[in-house]
């Protein structure tokens, strides 16, 4: 089988665009949305299952399939417009490379996802894995103006546009950001940028969890506007106690004022990180999400953080936890499918959605990225999948089997 697939793909893409993975699986690395679409079309027609891959740093490349399809050769920064604060980037481009290109021209993509700095832009979008900066700049979708998507059966859909405000047609982009590739593969994206902040300082405070959580809420109630406000478990922060970290960015005058008010808020003692340590600190906390095989996020509100952390601690372990000041909790560790199922049930009873962001295939297959849907949602999701991947070529476990 794999030889036939290999031959067919080579006929489509030439030998440079196709290779064999270590496990013998043919891997296609098309270098345009069009050739990407051709591969999906053929696979869909032939009934081949497709394993999607980016830079291979986030989701493990382990879905059973007849071929792997990688965005690795789609790694170009297509265009950058400083005057409009918009960039067009191919999905396989590594985040750190994009960041560097933008910084050279005084621009900034205000996304700090968990994982390695060379994660592909496409994987960040597909999994909607936002980091601490979502406190100030919103979730992943808020940075996406439009995207090109190849559907499971090989059509190219170009949703949204390159302007910062746009209500023409249905906002199909929203389906693909956080769709885990289940509705198609993002191949190119138009990103909303910001000017690189002139001032960027980070403060940290250590203490008991509940005191820090209260401080985070006090910061919110005082209408302070940090760009990031994130709480880290002791194991994640590599400290004896919990840590609260606040990142202030903007113009000098704004940051100075915010810093002064921050130090007067909450029953905690803040320490300013040295400028040269700040980037390393946020990089390390982002990487902690790779310290175990499973990462999940919980859409909890700020006032439910402590209870939810207790529940997670009870059902899984306290391990590596980060929690945003506006809510949202991320856990990384090792656990069983049964425990995840039970946590998802417990969360659903509290109206908190649980998304598996990263896990081995045998876990994804069992419980899915999503599950315990609310009323009416499951049917909509399966019909949407049918519309975008009618033959089920994309091997994505949006929902579990059990």
């Amino acid at each position: 089988m794999s030889d036939a697939v290999l031959t067919r793909l080579r006929a489509l893409l030439g030998s440079a665009g196709v290779e064999r993975e270590a496990d013998g699986l043919p891997r296609a690395t098309p270098d345009s949305s069009e050739s990407f679409a051709q591969v999906c079309h053929v696979a869909s027609e032939e009934g081949w299952r497709i394993r999607l891959e980016g830079q291979g740093t986030w989701l493990p490349a382990d879905a059973p399939a007849e071929l792997a399809l990688s965005t690795r050769a789609l790694d170009q920064v297509v265009s950058v417009s400083p005057a409009d604060l918009v960039a067009t980037v191919q999905a396989g481009a590594p985040l750190d490379e994009v960041r560097r290109r933008l910084a050279d021209q005084g621009m900034w993509l205000a996304l700090d996802p968990p994982g390695r700095p060379d994660r592909s832009i496409g994987s960040i979008l597909a999994t909607a894995t936002a980091g601490p900066l979502r406190y100030g700049f919103g979730s992943v979708r808020d940075h996406v103006l439009g995207c090109a998507v190849v559907t499971g059966d090989g059509r190219i859909v170009r949703a949204g546009g390159r302007v910062v405000k746009n209500v023409a047609g249905y906002d199909v982009t929203k389906l693909h950001v956080g769709g885990f590739g289940g509705f198609g593969v993002i191949t190119e994206v138009h990103l909303r940028l910001r000017a690189l902040p002139r001032a960027d300082v980070t403060f940290t405070a250590l203490g008991p969890r509940d005191r820090l959580a209260a401080a985070a809420r006090a910061i919110g109630a005082a209408s302070l506007s940090p760009s990031a406000l994130e709480m880290f478990s002791p194991a994640l922060a590599a400290e004896a106690e919990w840590m609260l970290a606040a990142r202030l960015t903007g113009t000098d005058s704004a940051v100075v004022g915010e810093a002064r008010r921050l130090s007067a808020t909450g029953d905690v003692t803040w320490q300013q990180l040295r400028a040269d340590r700040s980037a390393a600190f946020w990089g390390l906390t982002a990487r902690a999400a790779l310290a175990g095989p499973i990462t999940l996020r919980l859409g909890v509100l700020p006032d439910g953080l402590e209870e939810t952390i207790d529940l997670v601690g009870h059902d899984l372990d306290e391990g590596l936890v980060s929690a945003g000041g506006m809510g949202g909790l991320r856990w990384t560790g090792t656990t069983s499918v049964e425990r995840l199922r039970s946590l998802r049930r417990a969360m659903a009873a509290r109206e908190i959605p649980m998304t598996i962001e990263r896990a081995p295939w045998e876990v994804r297959r069992e419980i899915g990225h999503f599950g315990a849907y609310r009323e009416g949602v499951g049917q909509l999701v399966s019909k949407l999948r049918e519309a975008f991947d009618p033959k089920g070529a994309l091997q994505v476990a949006l929902e579990g089997s059990g």
Partner: protein, 470 residues
Amino acid sequence: MQSLLPHLERITGPRWVRHRRAELATYAMDGLPTRESPPAAVVMPGTREEVIAIVRELHRAGVPWVARGAGTGLSGGAVADPAAVMITLTRLNRILSIDPARRRAVVEPGAVNARLSEAALPFGLAYAPDPSSQAACTLGGNVAENAGGPHCLKYGVTANHITELEVVLPDGSTARLGSRGGEAWGPDLVGLFVGSEGMFGIAVEITTRLVPLPRAVRTSLADFGSIRAASEAVSAIIASGIVPAALEMMDQVCVRAVEASIYAAGYPTDAAAVLLVELDGSEEAVVGDGAVVDNLLAQHGARSITSASSPAERARLWQGRKKAFGAMGRLAPDLAVQDAVVPRSALPAVLDAVGAIGRRHELVVSNVFHAGDGNLHPNISFDRRDAQLAARVHQASGEIMEACVAAGGSITGEHGVGSDKRDYMPLIFDAATLDAMCAVRRVFDPLERANPGKVLPIHACREWRAGGVA
């Protein structure tokens, strides 16, 4: 239709079903002056349960329908053709709860935008999106259109402020999308539903975010000798990293109309363009950033800059902008309020092109718009009783859309496609993308009964073919 009416009357009581010609005239138009068509009947549910019962009844009877809020939309999205029933949601106008600690509000779809901010005010909170029609428009309509407003530059559009929706699908079933916290429950169906222009169903319960009122606000008015200079000042402010709460521009035609009206705000009538820049945040940020902004305005040729921090003075600076559409009523009986978006860097060239299109068709075009995000509103004054004039307005509107698209823009930034812009959709979307939109619509509404004939060009809606490339 006649056989349907008793069923609808049984649901809402006869008082809330309208079907006489004179009664229907009120519902023949929305804010778009160029499309007029009365529905077959109007039904006005008073509860969520009545909405569900009505949609089920219409589904059973196979009758198409159009949901409507206050009817202030500007794209003809809330106009029904004579075979369709209109479901007006203005009786469902309650603010169900405000949770200040979590900064959330739960409202019914007919709740008026400005009422929500008023209700949140005692808690030091506000609902951020502020379309010009906010004193009348409903949050259900805002959700359908993904409404914007001047302060969306900093705070984002409706989609950024909706966390959870209970929707009635066109078959009468219900679905709960999103979650209170805002995290999607599965894929982002709230994001998909917001802006679907009433074609996916009716939102009967809407959970919104509320934002804290800023500690300090500062508004500056600057006037310029050319639109180009004002546009360059806009780009310079954005490039500085400062994100103003609002950044609005008015051209000379607009300023003169305002100053000749009862809304006169003291704007200089010899200016080619006037910019309003509003900063909000902490006191330090507003003062510090205010100095930077004033500097940038001066560097780019502002002839005078007036700044104000007190609410009364700020209101005076804003008055001309807020009342601009009212003032334009002086110029002609009707106003075609256009809506398009261009990259900020293209503003001067596109405004030149818009001016030239107006002159070529001998039309009065005024511009008042959200310059910070490149969201243009070229307004054409006319009298719809003059058919020839109306035809020139239509022609000019099409040319303006083409100019905006050619500059890399979009055909609508906040008013929606509705029936007005439907035929421009192929200017920005290829056939495969329009097909995908059709397919998404059919997921929510397989029989295409909710707000039929809007958004998607009819010829584009062919079957979502099997196999795309080959």
